[in-house]
Symmetry: C2
DNA sequence: CAGTGGTCTAGACCACTGG
DNA sequence: CAGTGGTCTAGACCACTGC
């Protein structure tokens, strides 16, 4: 607890909380806690605190930013509700991570028809392919690259209980993921996004999915053991860092004879 | 832990409708604002304020519950984040409604491949069928009824820009929806859930969806103008009131050649 | 202008974690 | 036990709405 010698001067004016605010033209009003949120976000982006680490306590941050604890609290509340931070009472506030999470696949919404995921045991992951290639027009558009830019392409099959369920094609911009190989992928235990965090300093924070029904091709017949023409769920995902840059394009083909995509609408 | 004397005297049902209490040796700790939230929820359930109406101001509620405005505020914050209430600065806090909403279909996540929904003009809704029937085993299970209980069954086609895109089969428990006819459905402008609110006092608050890929049947060939075997998105939805009772089962078949199901992962 | 929700502060106390 | 996040209060002031 910090004590302030505030009794020295009788005429000390209260600190102006609006000193940071820029010349306020009419349009935008940004409350203090939003500005604090932005400052914390900047520290996260700059890597001041790594995923899994704790950030300073609310009191410390309040002192650092010269605001009250309640204002810091409200800023952290929003970041926590966006899954960027994780609060643990009595321990501290931590930078969210894809590692050390109870759920293996935070972004995977496919679940077995009965029971919860995990009841079938751990997923088996087989890398089919991992190579450098040139971004096609649509891949480039999704990743905010130019057509022909170098990308890494990964193809893998996920099996649950011994049955192949998911075929995934993944595209990554080559530059941030320089050095990613099939072996590193295959040897790594845990979520792929956790590897991205620890090895490439890339944190996936948010994703958008577009879902369609498509007929199985020969490719799927071979890898997913379904007949050509069988309806499959096509799930295209673009994942974003917390700079809101698209950093991964993933096209998944899900078998839905024993599993289904689950979603909650609020 | 503080407890509200009003809570005991005012609420007849057991005062634990909102916490998922585990079999905990130590009694659960429920903060004041959670109890206030429960009281407001009870008033909502009891219909003290109708959808679209404003609830009392924070100061009024604070006086009524004998707590500070901040505590009421936190309770309302949670209810607003669950889309049960809607805050409008300078005006008041309002009970959420499916009517008078900018978005026509709050729970429909199918969007055109390019552009936003609505760009195709209003949806055309054709009631194919509306009849009483007996709940099959799976329908009964979804609606927490018994097999053979009377249900209302509605089948309709939604068309966008003149093209049939969605075939929906809807099952409703007969009792709460007594008097629902194809004509009332067909004549009503606006979301179906808005009609449920105004005519049957049933408010859908939350829903769970299970999504699969299925081949089109002859039924779909006729109504959706697709060939038998064409992959369709099968979306099964169970919608809940804010008593958390399942009140609607809806099985939709979506064409995804020009539209896709969009989802955001946080 | 009054009334509403929204922000910010300061301080007290509670619940949880770990040494 | 000290340190953390979580709750609650009381009061001041700001931003927005509508009369």
């Amino acid at each position: 607890m910090q004590t302030l010698p505030e009794l020295i001067s009788e005429s000390s004016p209260p600190p102006d909380p609006f000193e940071q605010s820029v010349a306020n033209s009419t349009p935008a009003f940004s409350p203090l806690y939003q500005q604090i949120k932005g400052l914390i976000l900047n520290s996260l982006r700059a890597g001041e605190w790594k995923p899994g680490e704790s950030i300073p306590s609310e009191m410390d941050l309040a002192a650092r930013f010269k605001v009250s604890q309640g204002t810091v609290r409200k800023a952290i509340d929003e970041l926590a509700s966006e899954n960027l931070l994780l609060r643990r009472q009595g321990k501290g506030t931590f930078v969210a991570t894809h590692a050390e999470q109870q759920v293996q696949f935070r972004f995977l919404k496919l679940v077995p028809d009965s029971g919860t995921r995990g009841s079938e045991g751990p997923a088996q992951r087989d890398i089919i392919e991992c190579r450098r290639s040139r971004a096609s027009a649509d891949v480039a558009r999704a990743l905010a690259l130019r057509t022909g830019d170098t990308v890494l392409q990964v193809r893998r099959v996920l099996s649950f209980g011994g049955t192949p369920i998911i075929l995934e094609d993944i595209w990554l911009p080559a530059t941030p993921f320089k050095g990613l190989t099939a072996e590193r992928l295959a040897n790594y235990q845990g979520p792929m996004y956790a590897l991205f965090e620890t090895e490439f300093n890339v944190r996936m924070v948010r994703a958008e999915e577009s879902i369609r029904a498509i007929p199985a091709l020969e490719l799927h017949e071979q890898l997913l053991k379904v007949k050509v023409g069988t309806p499959l769920l096509s799930v295209e995902r673009i994942a974003y860092t917390y700079r809101d840059e698209p950093m991964e394009l993933r096209r998944g083909c899900y078998r839905t004879d024993t599993h289904h995509y689950h979603n909650t609408l609020g």
